[in-house]
């Protein structure tokens, strides 16, 4: 579908000194503190941190779903102020439209943006196929299993052909077996359709398995603690010594919480 222009390493998403506070009657809590980062084209970046550390909040700010208290986010050099079609999101809670079929969900973006029927049919066909849901086009969401639902979520975000895809713990609601399968699937999908992906997880194995680069976040308020470039060849082997030693090292540096 979309051809990667030159393979050059330009920046898709960047943010500078972003902080986020939530204020309520009981005072303000700082959830993100002074985060700056850059994501290159077609890079698979993992935001890795303990539960409740502020990962979702950071993703919301980066994708424009929420605004930062201070600092700015740029997408292709332009300031991000609101959500938009060039920044796709796969939600932790899936957030599919239950009144639409698989096709309706996947084609929602292109339809909403006014593409002709032949175009959105073709696009949705391609991505439904890509995530392995061929034959389920006319099923309603409630009839699908957890893994299939998240495939729909991925296809829906992909089908809009965004510049960058944010995935917020997309597999955390799945059982362990399905989770492994989906990790392999996302690597297959990504290698077929190269995209810039910002992937959030609190599972170390998952992080090392999928990432080009892991950004390790501290406990709340989230700061960047350390960055790891993972250049193990793909497909990776969960049990190889290199994999295990990386996994141990990152684990050791991660903040522990209850």
């Amino acid at each position: 579908m979309r051809v990667d222009s030159t393979g050059s390493v330009d920046t898709v998403i960047s943010c500078q000194r972003v902080s986020k506070e939530f204020s309520s009657k009981r005072g303000t809590t700082k959830v993100i503190e002074n985060i700056s980062l850059e994501v290159k084209r077609n890079e698979f970046v993992v935001l890795f941190g303990p539960g409740q550390c502020g990962k979702t909040t950071l993703m919301n700010v980066l994708s424009g779903l929420d605004t930062a208290t201070s600092g700015t986010v740029y997408s292709l050099g332009e300031k991000v102020v609101r959500p938009g079609a060039e920044r796709g999101v796969v939600f932790q809670s899936m957030a599919l439209f239950p009144w639409l079929t698989v096709r309706g969900n996947v084609a929602y973006g292109p339809k909403a943006r006014g593409f002709e029927k032949s175009v959105w049919i073709e696009k949705s066909d391609y991505y439904i196929n890509l995530v392995g849901l061929k034959g389920f086009e006319d099923s309603y969401i409630n009839k699908l299993s957890g893994g299939m639902k998240q495939r729909v979520g991925i296809a829906r975000a992909y089908c809009n052909e965004p510049e960058v895809l944010f995935m917020d713990e997309p597999f955390s609601a799945l059982d362990a077996q399905t989770r492994y399968l989906m990790q392999e699937e996302i690597m297959r999908i990504w290698s077929t359709e190269k995209r810039t992906i910002v992937f959030i997880t609190n599972n170390i194995e998952e992080a090392v398995y999928v990432a080009d680069r892991i950004i390790l976040l501290t406990n709340c308020p989230a700061k960047i603690k350390k960055e790891y470039h993972i250049d193990l060849p793909r497909p990776r082997d969960y049990t190889s010594p290199e994999f295990l030693s990386l996994r141990d090292e990152i684990s050791k540096n991660m903040d522990r919480t209850l």
């Binding site: 959500p83 938009g84 079609a85 920044r87 939600f91 957030a95 009144w99 639409l100 909403a112």
Partner: protein, 261 residues
């Protein structure tokens, strides 16, 4: 499949036993007490009911009375529902519209449609007009209320999702807010339908020359309790059918919801 059939057969058997013993109790009770002077037994009522389909009660037979009542309910119910859905969704979704209409709606809401009967007769006379007005209110009030709460309950995450996918406000209203509210709207439609039916019965009891409510009230003049019970049977059966039809429509339109048992 076999099991389901077996269960159904069993259930209908219990239903028959239950209803037959109720009728027996009624028959024996009437026989044994003084009430038999005014109160007919079940057998008599059932025969009268069947007979009402052949021989007229007052000026018309039962099906014609039912048709008269339905002609009062259906058009006004549809208009009331359409207005209620439109206004309710808009009120639930757009704050300014809510601010404009909320106080007036809240003024009307607690007044039961039945309490409008006297003023509606003053305004629209004793003909069909006043009945349509009452049914309109009986449908409009609950449908609006449920549509408001439907549009209010739209999951904000789904709206964010729509924005993320590049949908305009208008597109999201049509493709997210509206479908999300459909189950809520249907529960309002159910309540409104039952209310409309009860209201038409009351309105016909107070002023009319035909209709199921008239059957009941005219029985008072002739002291014919059997006729009153025949009317009640007709009202109950039509009320039940209306609710069933509505539920089937809902099941069609909301195939995507998982109904809780």
């Amino acid at each position: 499949m076999r099991k389901i059939l077996q269960r159904m057969a069993q259930n209908s058997m219990y239903a028959i036993i239950s209803i037959v013993s109720f009728l027996l109790l009624w028959a024996i009770g009437v026989q044994l007490s003084d009430i038999k002077i005014v109160m007919p037994g079940p057998w008599e009522v059932i025969i009268d009911f069947v007979d009402s389909f052949i021989h007229p009660v007052g000026r018309y037979t039962m099906p014609v009375h039912i048709l008269y009542s339905l002609m009062r309910v259906v058009p006004a119910y549809i208009v009331g529902s359409v207005v209620g859905i439109t206004l309710g969704i808009l009120m639930g979704w757009y704050r300014p519209i809510n601010s404009i209409f909320r106080p007036i709606y809240e003024l009307i809401r607690p007044i039961p449609p039945i309490a409008w009967i006297p003023i509606s007769i003053v305004w629209f006379g004793i003909g069909e007009g006043s009945k349509w007005f009452l049914i309109f209110l009986a449908a409009f009030v609950p449908v609006t209320l449920n549509s408001i709460s439907g549009a209010r309950s739209v999951d904000p995450l789904l709206i964010k999702c729509g924005e993320m996918l590049g949908a305009s406000k208008k597109h999201m209203f049509r493709t997210i807010v509206l479908p999300f509210s459909v189950p809520y709207i249907f529960s309002g439609l159910q309540v409104g339908l039952a209310g409309s039916w009860a209201t038409v019965v009351a309105a016909e009891m107070i002023r009319s020359t035909e209709g199921v409510g008239w059957i009941i009230i005219s029985s008072m003049d002739t002291n014919d309790v059997a006729q009153s019970l025949v009317g009640i049977m007709g009202i109950g059966i039509v009320g039940f059918l209306l609710a069933t039809i509505m539920r089937n429509v809902e099941d069609r339109l909301c195939a995507w919801t998982v109904r809780e048992v």
